[in-house]
């Protein structure tokens, strides 16, 4: 047995030694990590496969479509943008491993639009982009906690926070469904915590609240949720949930002929994604929806028109939906940030550019963005719409009336924001 003892130590040391040999000398430091004379590298983690990937797996294709369009038109100061996409399956461990790869191996300049509240939190604590000085641009999560500059100094939000959305929803409920029984479906993590905080601020009392665990959002679970809403006789049911949960709920409701007044949160309320799962469009009819960007079917809107044209050419046959629009919008804002960072962009100058000019970046949103030296809050509001018989969301009354608020106790007010016109050809100027 002494023999085995010795062998174990030898094998352990041997592998450790090989491990040492594998070590490569670090390449000579360029002007900035991820920036060469011809290219800027960005990295993204997103669920491309797995239960939660529904709808969100179109975001990388959408962002790439815009970056490719930008590259064909000269890039940013002659540099092409390369987006490296990693599938995290919506699992925090995977997100940490993949982000490590992006930062340490691929050596990206910045992380772009990483998705998921839990994933972003795990990455923030394990990989710690803040300590490494790596900018995390335009998070694909609306958890209000990411606006905490002390904890997340290099993170930039873009989606309005879930608190803001719940507050805007709350105001709508008070004005239109004051005497109705309200039910709420929400995710039992920070996504839901944020929602509950927003509804509380708005002063909404629920007849029934049904939490679900992310990862358990199938049809079988949905049947159980419906039983609870039925038992509580909810007149209005709010689905503050991811796409897969929202679709499962509406699909099962259609089968069971359960038809309360639906109210869909923006996270899972994209009609194209919902209909793609086989949910009949009729179920969506008259449901209330919320969005910070114009309706995806609104081809009179110059941003929607250009983005959908670019997307149709890049990814033929794929429907233009809210995930695509938001993905392209974030890519467009990133391009402007890189341009604003100057001909020799660094991680620091990129962040400084967003701090000083981010609030004025041209983008599709109909509500203001809150970027400044002291705030990394993204968009700050919504317009309220109704779904048509064919399941398309359009503004109530035909024109966009937008509401803006904050993630705290601030009031919900009508926004007077005037969106900047689209720069020529949709390129940063």
């Amino acid at each position: 047995m002494k023999e085995i003892n010795r062998q174990i130590l030898v094998s352990v040391s041997a592998v450790l030694a090989v491990f040492g040999l594998v070590a490569q000398a670090l390449p000579a430091q360029a002007a900035e990590v991820g920036v060469s004379s011809s290219e800027i590298k960005l990295g993204m983690t997103v669920p491309m496969t797995g239960a939660a990937s529904l709808g969100y797996n179109k975001i990388p294709g959408a962002a790439k479509a815009y970056f490719d369009y930008l590259n064909e038109n000269g890039g940013v100061y002659g540099r092409k943008i390369r987006l490296i996409v990693e599938d995290d399956k919506y699992v925090p461990t995977e997100a940490v491993a993949k982000t490590n790869k992006l930062i340490l191996k691929d050596k990206v300049m910045a992380l772009f639009a990483p998705l998921g509240t839990a994933n972003n939190r795990a990455v923030a604590s394990a990989v710690n982009p803040a300590k490494r000085g790596v900018p995390v641009l335009f998070l694909n999560t609306g958890f209000s906690g990411f606006a905490d500059l002390k904890k997340y100094p290099t993170h930039y939000m873009v989606l309005p926070s879930y608190v803001m959305e719940a507050k805007v929803m709350g105001e709508y409920i008070k004005a239109n469904f004051a005497d109705k029984k309200i039910g709420l479906l929400y995710q039992d993590d920070d996504f839901g915590v944020d929602a509950l905080a927003g509804f509380k601020t708005a002063g909404i009392n629920f007849a029934v609240k049904v939490p679900y665990a992310s990862g358990s959002q199938g049809a079988a679970a949905a049947a159980g949720w419906i039983t609870k809403f039925k038992a509580a006789e909810a007149d209005v049911v709010i689905l503050f949930a991811v796409s897969s949960a929202t679709s499962a709920m509406l699909g099962v409701a259609a089968q069971l002929k359960y038809a309360p007044q639906w109210m869909l949160g923006s996270v899972g309320g994209d009609a194209v994604t919902i209909k793609a799962t086989g949910v009949p469009a009729g179920v969506l009819y008259n449901a209330i929806g919320f969005s910070p960007v114009p309706a995806t079917t609104d081809m009179k809107d110059e941003y929607v028109k250009l983005f959908s044209d670019i997307y149709a050419k890049a990814v033929p046959g794929s429907a233009f939906d809210l995930n695509v629009l938001l993905g392209m919008n974030s890519a467009f804002m990133t391009a402007q940030a890189l341009k604003a960072a100057g001909p020799n962009p660094t991680r620091k100058s990129l962040m400084a550019a967003i701090d000083s000019k981010g609030a004025t970046f041209a983008n599709a949103a109909l509500v203001p963005a809150g970027y400044s030296k002291t705030s990394h809050v993204g968009l700050t509001g919504y317009w309220v719409g109704k779904f048509s018989p064919t399941g398309d969301l359009s503004p109530i009354g035909g024109t966009y009336v937008t509401y803006t608020t904050d993630s705290g106790a601030g009031a919900v007010v009508k926004s007077t924001y005037v969106r900047p016109a689209m720069p020529a050809k949709g390129l940063p100027n």
Partner: protein, 317 residues
């Protein structure tokens, strides 16, 4: 001397390799716990991921709620998982073969999702487990990942040393005797159920340590970190290492860590879609498992030993 070796290594390699080194050390511990159980005491477990989860949660709760020093949290992880292992082992001692496999499989599926039912366990997004920054006296260039690597590598070395000693003691002999022939072992006066429970307890304790270390490297403890896939990949790692000997654990651990990277390179070479890229590691691992079982069923190390023994025998004759 070992510390010096670690120090040199940590300084030579780039940060990603340091992080992978930490992951390898974690897998070495997890695989060795399974080899102890299956290879030495002859009990099957498909649920080591669940035991790792117990270790991770107990360490994180000890750290967050009771502000216990980091070093102690690892001992707590070992202790709690060992207790859970003892309970499980008591049941396991009455089961064998497919029944035991089924029981542990159920555990792997059910236990992590229990976390969704209890508020203090943080639901799906889990709870943070922060071992803190490396001590300042180690200098500015001593990164967080180097710190993880040091802790995990040290734990792995201590674990291996302890295990190899236990296995060469009376207990190790008892386990091997029981595995070879239970009846014969009982006739020799070995209390089989006690021996099996002891193996399960020890194996669980070590798995708990691996779980705590794993969650250290990802900063959080959440059910999604301890999936069925984790249990299976540890088992695969154990088979690749050679299930009957501790010497090869490094082989399985290294394969588990570098395979996704190789798969990534291959996928990019053939320019395939995301769907292929994310399923390729599993496919390669499966293929490797089949090849191993077909050609080197006892693992490369045992195979090498068998060959060496044959050659020696030839020389003699």
């Amino acid at each position: 001397m070992l510390g010096f070796l670690l120090f040199l290594l940590g300084n030579r390699v780039d940060e990603l390799r340091v992080y992978q080194g930490a992951s390898i050390a974690v897998f070495v511990i997890a695989i060795s716990s399974l080899i102890l159980l299956t290879g030495y005491s002859g009990q099957v477990s498909l649920g080591h991921g669940a035991l790792m989860a117990i270790g991770a949660y107990s360490a994180a709760i000890a750290r967050n709620e009771f502000k216990i020093p980091v070093v102690l949290t690892f001992f707590i992880a070992v202790l709690f998982t060992a207790i859970a292992g003892a309970l499980l082992g008591a049941a396991a001692a009455r089961l064998s073969g497919p029944y035991l496999a089924g029981t542990t499989l159920a555990l792997a599926i059910g236990l992590p999702s229990l976390a969704n039912q209890f508020e203090p366990l943080g639901g799906e997004q889990g709870i943070p487990f922060d071992v803190g920054l490396p001590p300042a006296r180690l200098g500015e260039s001593f990164t967080q990942y180097k710190w993880f690597f040091w802790i995990a590598a040290l734990a792995a070395l201590i674990c291996m040393w302890l295990l190899s000693n236990i296995l060469s003691s009376r207990y190790g002999r008892n386990w091997r005797a029981g595995r070879s022939n239970e009846v014969a072992a009982q006739i020799c006066g070995i209390n089989m159920s006690r021996s099996k429970i002891l193996a399960f307890t020890l194996s669980a304790g070590i798995a708990g340590l691996a779980g705590a270390l794993l969650s250290m490297t990802i900063g959080t403890v959440s059910p999604s970190a301890f999936t069925l896939a984790l249990s299976f990949s540890i088992l695969t790692g154990a088979v690749l290492s050679g299930i009957t000997t501790l010497v090869g654990t490094m082989i399985g651990a290294v394969i588990l860590v570098i395979l996704p990277e190789i798969a990534d390179v291959v996928a990019h070479q053939i320019g395939s879609s995301e769907r292929v890229t994310s399923n390729l590691p599993g496919f390669l691992l499966g293929a490797l498992l089949i090849v191993t079982v077909l050609f080197v069923p006892n693992g490369p190390v045992e195979q090498h030993h068998a060959r060496a023994a044959k050659r020696a025998a030839k020389k003699k004759s």
